[in-house]
């Protein structure tokens, strides 16, 4: 189910809230689990069995790790087995086809016949809930968390529908106390509504129109240079408002249920270096990668050379986490190299001496280049797109007709609004926590109403991060 659909907003959510707030407190986590399974299974019912298997297995592994008398060796064996099981499942569903296609390409290189490949459907959100579950096991092993009080608490944590399919990635230790006891107040609920409305508006009013522009350009055979820049700019806005909007809605729904999720975005396009980008973009992922991958690899404790390698490896794997394609790996490598380069310069960008607007502009430009790698269908398409951006591609031919799709009042107006919003400092997460006034409430309800009306009239409503 997607948050910005009538089935979620007008059927699932009211029914869920009605039952949730009328249940005795001890039954609420059970209801969260059940409803989350319906929410998740709505896309493909058999996916639920996979998530249920992961949940049961990891709950048992958690008890094995924390059982009284377990030696460190036994704990290590248990956590290794659990991590391997989870990564094997993730690896099969997410990377099997990529591996098989690469294997076929290698066979062809050496003159052998390629073989047919089993088509494996990627269960949506598997990357997110696998990470949720792994943080539980690893934190237990490290002694950073205590085992879940009950299976109901743990299953509610893994399946929690607000952050289930596209994050933010919530660690068990962050929610452990809230799973046991959380406060439900009108203020908290209202602030949840506030940020939900803002996220909803970001997605429907901004991300979707930008997505149409981006899709038109990225699908064009040979876009003219100006259109290529327009397309990647539109994609930069689309992916930000899409993902940030989804995170805001997730945070909002969490607050309605009494949970506090951390901020996942903090004005990333105002960053002055790529290092800063990763402190502001998908904060929950970068912190998970830092704590569960970068630090175990040695972090910066094993000398500068090893630090650069670690940064590159972490970003490479981060790219692969986003998708099983070579262009995601290239995207990760691009970021890894920049982070290593900036680390070498003392966490400063190459242009740190320039005025602030120039620093922000150049960082945004680097982000645009990285988005080409991220959005293109494959590495060849990314190369062609870069060529088009610099006027080095083939003659545009019929792609000149793109002008009829791009340079129209509505997309131009939306992109201008996006440009203003990404450079202003106030973030929805903070704004929604400030005292609510009638004027603000009216604005939020106006945005919600407008978003709902447009939701019913839009045919284009994808969620980018579902595929990750």
């Amino acid at each position: 189910m997607v948050f910005t659909t009538p089935i979620f907003l007008f059927y699932f959510l009211p029914l869920f809230l009605l039952i949730y707030f009328n249940l005795p407190y001890r039954w609420r986590n059970c209801w969260i689990t059940l409803a989350s399974y319906v929410f998740y299974g709505w896309w493909e019912p058999w996916f639920v069995t996979l998530m249920a298997f992961t949940t049961v297995a990891d709950f048992i592994w958690g008890h094995v790790i924390t059982r009284p008398g377990a030696t460190r060796v036994q704990q290590r064996a248990a956590v290794t087995a659990c991590v391997v099981t989870n990564l094997c499942l993730l690896g099969f569903f997410k990377y099997f086809m990529f591996a098989a296609e690469t294997f076929n390409a290698l066979r062809e290189t050496f003159g052998a016949e390629p073989v047919r490949i089993l088509r494996v459907t990627l269960p949506i959100g598997i990357s997110f809930y696998t990470f949720h579950s792994l943080t539980y096991i690893i934190d237990l092993y490290r002694g950073h968390a205590t085992p879940a009080r009950s299976f109901t608490d743990f299953s509610a944590f893994v399946a929690l529908f607000p952050d289930l399919v596209a994050g933010p990635i919530i660690r068990y230790k962050t929610l452990a106390a809230q799973l046991t006891l959380r406060q439900h107040t009108v203020e908290r609920f209202a602030s949840g509504i506030a940020i939900f409305c803002l996220g909803f508006a970001k997605k429907i009013l901004l991300a979707n129109p930008c997505g149409q522009v981006a899709d038109a350009v990225f699908n064009a055979a040979a876009p003219p240079a100006l259109d290529a820049w327009m397309g990647v700019l539109a994609y930069a806005f689309q992916i930000y408002f899409d993902f940030c909007g989804y995170s805001d809605m997730a945070v909002g729904l969490g607050r309605m249920l009494g949970f506090d999720f951390l901020k996942n975005f903090d004005a990333p396009y105002r960053s002055e270096s790529m290092t800063e980008v990763w402190r502001r973009w998908h904060i929950s992922l970068s912190s998970v990668l830092r704590d569960y991958l970068y630090y175990p690899l040695g972090g910066n404790r094993k000398g500068p050379a090893r630090t650069y390698v670690n940064l590159a490896v972490v970003m490479l794997l981060g790219g692969l986490w986003h998708g099983a394609k070579w262009n995601f790996i290239a995207w990760g490598a691009f970021h890894g190299l920049w982070l290593a380069f900036e680390r070498w310069r003392g966490k400063r960008s190459a242009y740190h001496a320039w005025p602030r607007p120039a620093r922000i502009g150049l960082t945004f430009l680097l982000m645009l280049f990285s988005w080409v790698l991220f959005r293109a269908d494959n590495l060849g398409a990314a190369r062609d797109y870069f060529a088009a951006m610099f006027g080095l591609g083939p003659a545009p031919g019929a792609s000149i007709l793109l002008a009829a799709e791009l340079y129209r009042p509505f997309p131009l107006l939306i992109m201008a609004i996006c440009a203003l919003l990404v450079v202003q400092p106030v973030q929805a997460h903070d704004w929604s926590l400030e005292p609510l006034t009638f004027a603000r409430a009216s604005l939020l309800l106006g945005l919600l109403a407008l978003g709902v009306l447009l939701m019913f009239s839009q045919d284009f409503n994808p969620f980018l991060y579902f595929q990750f």
Binding site: P14, E187, N219, I400, L401, R408, L433
Partner: protein, 442 residues
């Protein structure tokens, strides 16, 4: 959390309460009012459908789509929003793109040109991914056409392919000023398809050069309708004459057997793109386009229109057995055969008083008939032409109809297969193999 604490006096919590009440009221009001409306109308409560079928992915998607589609909110506000978007921003919605001077274009026509040759990803529902590298969509189409050609060849029938350029191919300058006046002839998968077919000995007619040459000689310079995906009667006639000329060149043209004549007719037509935009009332705000047609008349039968016993979309000359069969889509149907939906109803003539009631009303009938591609091909050859047409179904549906009605191939020497170029983008999935039935007595 910096928000007010739970101990904040109620007075200061009013905005929070108001926001909460209105939000909950809004999300509850939609399903409650929808249910009430359905009960009042005596209809089945829509959302309970989800419990009636097994919860498969397909059923759930279908229920979700139906829930949105039948919602009173959607039915009430979607047209308002779309009309507003069109009026304020010229946004024509998912199906259409607004061009210059009020012209409208069908978005898949535009996308087909912009996207060019794309790899054919095949059938995404298949359990196995075949190792063969994905061919371009036009290559898959060429393969499907060649297989059909081989089937016809076994029956001694020739095949002539006629891809029809979409409106943006011919009138790019009406889409965007960037195209410049008269700039056409873009490299497109259509050119590649035609070249590939010719390489393999399948004859094809490239209409684009024909239209380019003709544009300078047409008074208005327009070969397509402003608000419609289709060509003008003049465009249809030009295409028919080009096909006739190619048949003569190939030595496939039949002997002239009939002295068809022409008669002037005029129809007022509102474009199908206005209909596809699904904005109620929009059609009425655009004046219908007056279209002058040349109706082709048979000396014995008058207009070449199907008799009442003919299957929908099929035309056979009732007297002479035709050696030619046209398989085509709405480009073959327009001005020729009755349209499948009401949008084809056109106003013809002037207001006249009703003889019984005395009320003045416009006389209405379907498009004039016998003034389209098929009739003009018959006129150009002076020989009858049979046809099977299916709107949007030239890639596969017409061959299915032919397969279930194979007697129509009796006595045929040439099949002319017309389809609009955007159908090439359907690729393998849209160009299915349809084996012709085995000939009786063979």
């Amino acid at each position: 959390m910096r928000a007010n604490s739970p101990t904040t006096p109620l007075l200061h919590r009013r905005p929070q309460l108001a926001l909460t009440v209105v939000f909950l009221g809004l999300i509850a009001a939609v399903p409650v009012s929808q249910t009430a409306l359905e009960l009042v109308r005596g209809q089945r409560v829509q959302f309970t459908d989800v419990f009636r079928d097994s919860p498969t992915s397909g059923n759930l998607r279908r229920h979700e789509a139906a829930l949105k589609e039948k919602s009173w909110v959607q039915q009430t506000f979607r047209p308002v929003i779309q009309r507003l978007m069109f009026r304020a921003f010229g946004d024509a919605g998912a199906k259409a793109v607004t061009g210059r001077d009020g012209w409208l274009f069908y978005r898949p026509d535009v996308r087909f040109l912009i996207e060019g040759s794309r790899p054919d990803t095949g059938d995404a529902a298949s359990r196995w991914v075949q190792p063969a590298p994905p061919a371009a969509q036009w290559e898959s189409v060429a393969r499907a056409i060649r297989r059909f050609d081989e089937q016809l060849e076994q029956r001694g029938i020739q095949l002539l392919i006629v891809p029809v350029p979409g409106k943006p191919s011919v009138h790019a300058e009406q889409l965007t000023a960037r195209a410049g006046a008269g700039r056409t002839g873009f490299a497109s998968p259509t050119r590649e398809l035609i070249a590939e077919l010719e390489r393999h000995g399948v004859a094809a007619v490239d209409l684009l050069p024909v239209f380019e040459r003709a544009r300078s000689s047409v008074p208005s310079g327009k070969l397509y309708l402003a608000h419609d995906t289709h060509w003008t009667p003049h465009g249809a006639r030009l295409a028919a004459e080009a096909v006739a000329a190619r048949l003569r060149n190939l030595g496939w043209a039949p002997q002239a057997t009939t002295a068809f004549t022409l008669r002037k007719a005029a129809v007022d037509r509102r474009g199908d793109i206005l209909e596809m935009m699904q904005i109620p009332g929009l059609r009425d705000t655009f004046a219908p386009q007056r279209i002058e047609c040349d109706q082709v008349l048979d000396p014995a039968l008058g207009p070449l229109v199907p008799g009442p016993s003919e299957r929908p979309g099929t035309y056979r000359h009732p007297i002479h057995q035709s050696p030619l069969l046209v398989l085509g889509d709405s480009f073959s149907r327009i001005y020729q055969l009755p349209e499948p939906r009401s949008l084809g109803t056109a106003v013809v003539g002037t207001e006249s008083p009703d003889p019984e009631t005395g009320e003045r009303r416009l006389s209405k009938r379907l498009l004039p008939g016998s003034a389209g591609f098929v009739s003009h091909l018959a006129h150009a050859l002076q020989a009858p032409v049979d046809a099977i047409v299916s709107d949007g179904g030239a890639s596969t549906d017409v061959r299915r109809k032919l397969s279930t009605n194979p007697e129509i191939l009796e006595g045929k020497r040439v099949v002319i297969w017309q389809f609009v170029e955007r159908d090439i983008a359907l690729g393998r999935a849209g160009w299915a193999d349809v084996p012709l039935p085995v000939e009786l007595g063979k």
